[in-house]
Symmetry: C2
Subunit: 219 residues, 2 copies
């Protein structure tokens, strides 16, 4: 009985990790589409989002069955609830990738004037976010609390990028009306990346909870 | 034993409802602060957010204990998981109220030039969102699936407000550099309200799930 349960927990973790990689891929593609002004790639991100949503639903049903049939307690129950809660965070990270993709399509259609310096900054910001996402999946798989704490500290770097990009865009928009439309999109995209960073922090908090049983705020 | 469990489920629902009212209050105050340029009220919203966060943590621990001790199945387990998942949505709605409050403080400090027409539109948009939030708590308490479906349809109205406000602000910002800073904040605030509408839709989906056991997307 216990062996079956262990197998099921392993399967649950594998599905969660798979969902994490899928979301990371969506974020990477959305940012790549943004930087390369690639509408086809952006459309792909939009279309793939339904798979991510379906994965969350599947995971939840799987977790539900696990609780109902195995009636787990303590650490086992904690890991199931973690997957249930954290899969919502992953799903929303996927939604933000879609929002970035939508912005690519919009900018492309409106032929907005671009600000190359900001695109470079968004690329750098996305690189930090990407590392955070990847490392958080790794920390989850290995139950690595120290890594989870380190990742959460990087959220301040992401926040700082957001503040800088926001400030720079507004200044440019105030001095050149031609960049107003594109500039507003840069601010939105930086905002989505900033929130993805927040969700990663939530997942890191969950990794701590798994080990300690305490729900604490990181960062 | 069953009577104790029923009492505990009632207590869980009461706590969830209380959290819902608290979040609704935060949204109302944030919007009121925004419309009346009331920095003191905005600061209050920011400070009260830690109570909302604490409520989510408490609810989760309570739900955890309920599952571990009562080993619920089917409808009972579903209602506990609903509260666990939906309390994350409420908590994030509270975060967005804080973001609106932060924007009030920022606009106030920067003495940005305002666009009165947009403030009227944001007021109207907030009124729709407020009704959605209140009605969703009501639908949850009464397990009213039809009401939940009706509320979810209102999300399109909220989305439409967002599109209109966004478009109008960008036009104004392109024609008058003095409104660039304030205009960007209007877009952000409308964006927060739009996302609160999305979270309400999630809660409505949960109300359906409680009754049907199926996780379906509304709207």
């Amino acid at each position: 009985m216990r062996r079956i349960f262990d197998d099921e927990l392993t399967q649950m973790n594998a599905q969660f990790t798979k969902m994490g990689f899928k979301v990371n891929e969506a974020i990477l593609k959305a940012v790549k589409a943004f930087i390369n002004h690639d509408k086809a790639l952006a459309t792909e991100v939009k279309e793939n989002d339904k798979d991510i949503n379906a994965m969350e639903v599947e995971l939840e049903l799987f977790c539900f069955q696990l609780i109902a049939l195995q009636q787990p307690v303590s650490a086992d129950l904690r890991s199931i609830i973690t997957v249930m809660k954290a899969s919502s965070d992953l799903e929303r990270m996927g939604d933000h990738a879609v929002s970035i993709a939508r912005s690519v399509i919009r900018v492309k259609e409106e032929h907005s004037k671009r600000i190359p310096e900001v695109e470079v900054q968004i690329g750098e910001m996305a690189e930090v976010v990407k590392q955070m996402v990847e490392q958080s999946i790794d920390a989850y798989v290995r139950g690595d609390v120290e890594l989870a704490k380190t990742i959460a500290t990087k959220d301040s770097i992401v926040d700082e990028y957001f503040v800088q990009i926001n400030r720079f865009c507004l200044k440019e928009m105030a001095s050149d009306p031609a960049v107003v439309f594109g500039g507003a999109d840069y601010i939105l995209v930086a905002g989505y990346l900033e929130r993805i960073g927040d969700y990663v922090t939530n997942i890191c908090e969950r990794i701590l909870y798994l080990q300690t049983g305490k729900i604490e705020e990181l960062n």
